[in-house]
């Protein structure tokens, strides 16, 4: 099921004019920002398909910038987001791309700052809902409807079980997960969508596990902190 519940149909409360080009775009930008962990110094944004053709009229550029600023979908500051991004020292650039993406509303964001870089690809599938398809070259799918945990780790037997076992012992239920690796026994990414919030302490425990190189959490649910 692409749409999970009643609020993916009725909602979100948002600033117009387009749920896919404005609210959905904002949520993609916000997902990238939360995964990066802080406001980036620069964000290079490439738009595809319908996004590329119509982004100016729909304020998609404003919405993506607002997402990078960590705004909510109904924040009245969205219309000023590009100016606010600039004032806050974030350099946002836009380009159009052609790619073999399945969905017409696809965007790629490359965030950089502090010597780090994250590249993330997602599509806005309607009604403000999003479907992310790529994180740093890992082919993973997720929707960010619930708290979403990112565990970057080495590919070795048992590591996924160790992480999911820990979540289970802490009473965190998994709704969906996806795993991809760059190569056999190489770098891997496990993305886990959970029903419950994942505490900072729990993230730290996972961070301390053998072969885990990085842990991130994107929680865009109401009250889900940065």
């Amino acid at each position: 099921m692409r749409f999970k519940d009643v609020f993916s149909i009725i909602g979100p409360s948002m600033v117009g004019p387009s749920s896919s080009h404005t609210a959905g775009a904002l949520r993609i930008g916000r997902t990238a920002r939360r995964l990066f962990g802080t406001q980036p110094e620069a964000a290079e944004i490439v738009l595809y398909g319908s996004f590329a053709e119509t982004y100016m009229g729909h304020g998609t550029d404003l919405a993506l910038a607002a997402g990078l600023l960590d705004f909510e979908t109904d924040d009245m500051r969205i219309r000023d987001a590009l100016r606010l991004a600039e004032l806050s020292g974030m350099n946002v650039t836009f380009g159009k791309g052609k790619g073999p993406f399945a969905h017409p509303n696809t965007v790629r964001l490359t965030l950089s700052g502090g010597g780090r870089q994250d590249a993330i690809v997602g599509a806005s599938i309607g009604g403000g809902n999003i479907e992310m398809t790529d994180v740093n070259g890992f082919d993973v799918k997720f929707t960010v409807r619930t708290p979403t945990l990112f565990v970057f780790h080495g590919d070795r037997p048992g590591i996924v079980a160790e992480v999911t076992g820990l979540l289970g012992r802490e009473g965190v239920n998994i709704g969906y997960m996806d795993v991809d690796r760059k190569s056999r026994r190489g770098d891997a990414l496990t993305v886990i969508e959970t029903d419950e919030a994942v505490s900072a302490a729990l993230q730290d425990t996972i961070r301390g596990m053998k072969d885990v190189t990085r842990v991130g959490l994107v929680d865009l649910t109401a009250g889900g902190g940065a």
């Binding site: 009643v6 149909i9 749920s19 100016m56 009245m76 380009g95 159009k96």
Partner: protein, 320 residues
Amino acid sequence: MKFSHLNELAACCREDGKTIGQLMLAEQALESGQSEEQVFRQMADYFGVMKEAVRRGLDEPVPSRSGLTGGDAVRVKEYMERGDASLGKEACLAMAYALSVSEVNASMGRIVATPTAGSCGIIPGAFVSSQERFGWADDKLVMGLFAAGAIGYVIANNSFISGAEGGCQAEVGSAIGMAAGALTELRGGTPEQAVHAVGLALKNSLGLICDPVGGLVEIPCIVRNGFGAVTALAAADMALAGVRSVIPSDEVIQVMLEVGGAMPDKHRETGMGGLAQTPTGKRIVKDLYGKKKSAGGNEKGQEKEKGKGKGETEGEGGAS
């Protein structure tokens, strides 16, 4: 959710002795792990946003960001008040309210996507005008939103709800189907009648392309919301009168999928065809993005121009 098709939805309602709205509320509580009260409260908040958008577009009308549209809701309401609208007062008011919310959306005001922002006027238009006419309490309308959401959930998962994927039939068409089914239930119709209303309504918008001028959610989106609210009332009336959708509603949804999948790119929200590419549509785009560099966005379409320095292009159009 324990239903994925409209016939299953009606069957579940029959088994549980619930309305569509009550069934959706219970299922949502189960899905989210929250109490029914919490879930109800969130939907009630959304209904508040919708009513505020209806009011705002009529009391404080503002032009759209591009300056192309605005003021039609007020025009229609004033005309309605003269008392000689062909539609009659009630349907004319539904139309005015739907236009109002869509105009608020185009001005970057706050609305609720139902199911999308492009179609955000139809449910508030049909709901708020009916509330005033029949004297319904807010809580009743909130349950109506759950019913509309259940219908939209089925449409979205079996077909689509975005113009980029399936054309305007997927956005405005879905919203009309949702409003028609929910209104049928609010007026005392059975779940079966509500499901027929959905099929009747959807059949009337099959094939509708998404061809916004300049890619903006304005022309023709705003007037289609006005028409949509009226069509929803009509479909609910047909269903309540006992008219049935001979082609079952679930099969109509499959046709929407088939038709949307066959639609060329230029008719799916790219602004490359239809009304967007008429001589007038092209002239509007030229005026908007050509001369007035700041209108509706920024001249940065070519290749990766710098985002810095874009501040001066803000505050365009009618944004205030």
